[in-house]
């Protein structure tokens, strides 16, 4: 059967098969680790002393940092939603990162903002700060108006200088947090003095029904593209991160939901200015710092802490986002290459780095190249049918099985879908994504890699839909 392949090299085909099988096994292994971690977390939650955390003066105070760029439709609702979080002590620092729309005006009107004389806690380029605003009615809210440039990283660094509390939570302006998310994220800090950062699960809010800035029902979105992302987020942002947490090798906490020790963030130099993968880069530097200071399990991921974010519903925006993510991954790996089998770090850090490099970083290249070669051979009529069947079987099973496990894990760690048909839909999309969506995302990621090599930077922007009247209409029609 291999004779037909001999002209382009039997070994290449075999390598492709071994690689695909290896990736499939690694993802299944990660899913199994994630189940163990989810079980451990459920156990810990049962013995957690939440009551004491709520007692005044004992809960570590939190500064919620919200970088916002052109968030006019959603910003007021987002801030109001943050104000309703269940936690004894927190402040909100919004950074209007040079928005060209009316983000600042909307907030000024909604919260009665006035120019404020708040002092700086750390040194920042003052010329970038156009104004600082506070409100007599909301003493825990600060809004910074800064000149755009340097990306989210610089905006967060400026917010850090104005923040007051020992823990910082960085959230996207369109994120919707559940009422107890802060509590869930802060518990590890409260229970263990060595914790430096805690991440939570980010899930697509598209299709969910919001009431007063709160997700009251979760259904599959209408948009096909968003549906694929629901499946994808579960696989990569829930399963993968829970699995790596168990191995004490978590290298990424989502920029949309991460609670950090302010002291540790400053100790590693804050967010890297201009970085495209600032969240991953910060997390990797914290891992290095924790390893040097011999702190174990300093970076954790909590399956029960959920934040919701709007995901792109058009291919154009999605392609830019995925390309940017891959550029960010490339940058973070390059900046933190020291982690690769350096004797100063533990073996598990090296293994996790190799995974990021060979599976997350190179994976799309192998996937795209393999399938293009197969396509070319098929067009030339030289393709071996048995090889094709084996390869695509591994490709489909390897893509579907970890996703199905992720859906089960969702039920165990953070169940939000209430209808059976939504779960069935998820399972179907776990299968469908292998025929088109995976190839597209792999292509966009390869483009991201090409952009990195060419030194091009594409930031991209997601257009927000605001209060999502369509979704509310859906809920009303469903109720009717």
């Amino acid at each position: 059967m291999w004779r037909d392949l001999s002209f382009w090299g039997t070994w290449l085909g075999t390598l492709l098969l071994i690689y695909s099988l290896g990736v499939c096994l690694v993802y299944i292994g990660l899913a199994l680790l994630a189940f163990i971690e989810a079980r451990l977390q459920r156990r810990r939650a049962r013995t957690a002393d939440r009551l004491s955390l709520f007692e005044s003066d004992l809960a570590p105070s939190i500064s919620i940092l919200v970088p916002a760029f052109n968030e006019e439709p959603t910003i007021v609702d987002s801030v109001r939603s943050l104000m309703q979080l269940e936690y004894p002590s927190f402040e909100i620092v919004v950074v209007n990162d040079g928005s060209t729309d009316h983000t600042l005006d909307r907030m000024t009107r909604a919260f009665n903002l006035r120019p404020s004389r708040r002092t700086l806690r750390a040194r920042v380029p003052r010329e970038r700060v156009r104004g600082v605003y506070s409100s007599p009615d909301y003493p825990f809210l600060v809004v910074l108006d800064v000149v755009n440039g340097g990306g989210k990283a610089r905006a967060v660094n400026i917010a850090l200088a104005f923040s007051r509390h020992p823990l910082i939570l960085v959230v996207d302006a369109d994120s919707v947090l559940e009422r107890d998310t802060l509590l869930q994220l802060a518990l590890p800090f409260y229970e263990d003095a060595s914790v430096l950062a805690v991440g939570g699960v980010v899930r697509p809010v598209n299709g969910c029904i919001l009431e007063h800035g709160r997700v009251v029902d979760c259904t599959l979105p209408r948009s096909q593209i968003a549906r694929y992302q629901v499946v994808e987020y579960l696989r990569s942002m829930l399963t993968g991160r829970l699995g790596w947490t168990l191995l004490d090798s978590l290298f990424i906490i989502s920029g949309a939901l991460g609670l950090f020790s302010r002291e540790a963030v400053l100790a590693v130099g804050g967010y890297r200015d201009g970085s495209m993968g600032e969240d991953m880069d910060l997390c990797m530097r914290l891992q290095r710092w924790a390893a040097r200071n011999q702190r174990r399990l300093a970076i954790r991921f909590i399956g029960g802490a959920v934040g919701w974010t709007e995901v792109p519903e058009t291919l154009k925006v999605l392609s830019k986002q995925r390309s940017r993510w891959h550029q960010g991954l490339a940058e973070a790996l390059w900046y933190n290459r020291e982690l690769l089998f350096n004797q100063r770090f533990a073996l598990h850090h090296g293994i996790a780095f190799v995974f990021q490099l060979t599976v997350e970083f190179i994976g799309p290249v192998v996937e795209v190249a393999g399938q293009l070669v197969l396509l070319a051979l098929a067009i030339a009529g030289k393709v071996d049918l048995v090889f094709c069947v084996i390869y695509f079987s591994i490709f489909v099973v390897g893509g579907t099985l970890p996703t199905l496990l992720a859906i089960v894990l969702e039920r165990a760690a953070c169940p939000r879908f209430r209808r059976r048909r939504d779960l069935e839909g998820l399972a179907l999309y776990a299968l469908f994504e292998n025929f088109g969506y995976r190839q597209l995302t792999a292509w966009w990621r390869v483009m991201g890699l090409v952009n990195t090599l060419r030194g091009r930077r594409t930031w991209g922007e997601i257009s927000r839909r605001g209060a999502q009247p369509a979704q509310i209409e859906t809920s009303e029609s469903r109720a009717a």
Binding site: D49, S52, V408
Partner: protein, 363 residues
């Protein structure tokens, strides 16, 4: 040929597999009670909490309460008890506990305190801590001493709620057992021992030679309980202790308040460590006294941001005299940092007239 033993083994295996399959299928059923944090358990726990309320209001008797609780699933029972006992204390807690102690589930939990799994012991200790189970104190102490950290801590919490002085003594004598816990958590633990434990804490902080998280937490707790008799020991600590001890002592003195704490705190404003100066300034804001305004005013010119901030907010809490001082500092042009800080606080004082409560919340 299969022996009876083998058949039994197969039977057990089949039963276990059946149970596992049932659990997994329930997990995938959105309407089931098994998924995740268990929506069904929460609903049942809510129903049971109502039963507790009915018992407390005299609507139902002890027998009916026991019957309802005995029929409930264990996790729902403990969840309900946790939600309910968070809101009751004293006599009500004792009455509910007395009715529930004979339940099989409670007795099983007591046996689980000797279970080989540390997590099972910890969970059992946590559950028993929800009851006023004085008869189980010996078992809880044993679980606390046996460790590891999680079991020690949950057992200690249970004993703290029962005001067990022997447990408090043991914790203070074995600082390593709680060395990995955060300070806030240890403060919460020691607070649970109530005011009755203050004499033990006072005695302990007077004679320390080593510094550990639980000792520092003890210093803070005597402040929380406003124990005036600890003032001499805290004053000594503030003068001659290690950095962490001096910070904790300053916080505690701020909690105790009163004129007798003033001299030590004013002296601490000249401490070489900014952390101590910052805490002393904050503490002085809690006990407004005209004599502390001048030294606090000097601290607004400190090199450390936290000292400047705490001093300025502390002055603001001194009323009209404080405001005059802040205005004078804000007018100065030779120290930009001090005048900016004073201006920040003055703005908040101004806003306070429009929307009261903001200053105290931020300070």
């Amino acid at each position: 040929m299969a022996t009876p033993d083998t058949r039994n083994w197969f039977e057990r295996l089949r039963e276990r597999a059946r149970g596992q399959i049932a659990r997994w299928s329930a997990l995938l059923d959105p309407g089931s009670t098994e998924a995740g944090a268990s929506g069904g358990t929460a609903a049942e726990a809510e129903r049971l909490a109502l039963a507790f309320a009915r018992f407390i209001t005299g609507e139902t008797g002890g027998f009916a309460l026991r019957r309802v609780m005995a029929a409930a699933r264990p996790e729902a029972f403990w969840a309900a008890l946790e939600a309910f006992t968070d809101n009751i204390a004293g006599e009500e807690w004792r009455v509910v506990s007395r009715e529930l102690l004979p339940l099989d589930e409670v007795e099983s939990e007591c046996r689980r305190l000797r279970h080989p799994s540390a997590w099972t012991r910890a969970l059992a200790a946590r559950h028993l801590g929800l009851l006023n189970a004085r008869g189980m104190r010996a078992s809880l102490r044993e679980a606390m001493r046996r460790g590891p950290s999680l079991a020690t801590f949950t057992a200690a919490l249970a004993l703290a709620r029962m005001r067990d002085r022997e447990a408090l003594d043991w914790l203070l004598d074995h600082p390593d057992a709680t060395a990995l816990r955060s300070r806030q958590q240890l403060v919460a633990l020691l607070k649970r021992f109530g005011r009755g434990g203050v004499s033990i804490l006072r005695e302990a902080i007077s004679g320390w030679t080593v510094q550990s998280p639980i000792h520092l937490a003890a210093v803070e707790v005597v402040g929380v309980w406003e124990d005036h008799e600890s003032l001499p020991a805290l004053g000594r600590m503030l003068r001659a202790g290690d950095l962490e001890a001096r910070v904790a002592a300053a916080r505690a003195l701020g909690g105790i308040g009163g004129r007798s704490a003033l001299p030590a705190l004013v002296a601490a404003l000249d401490d070489q460590a900014w952390q101590v100066r910052a805490q002393a300034a904050r503490a002085l804001g809690r006990m407004p006294d005209p004599n502390s305004i001048a030294p606090l005013g000097a601290c607004v010119r400190d090199v450390a941001w936290w000292v400047r901030r705490n001093a300025a907010y502390a002055i603001a809490l001194h009323g009209a005299a404080g405001r005059v001082t802040l205005e004078a500092i804000a007018r100065q042009r030779n120290d930009v940092f001090a005048s900016e800080m004073a201006a920040e606080v003055l703005q908040l004082i101004e806003w306070e007239r429009e929307s009261p409560g903001g200053l105290s919340r931020v300070a």
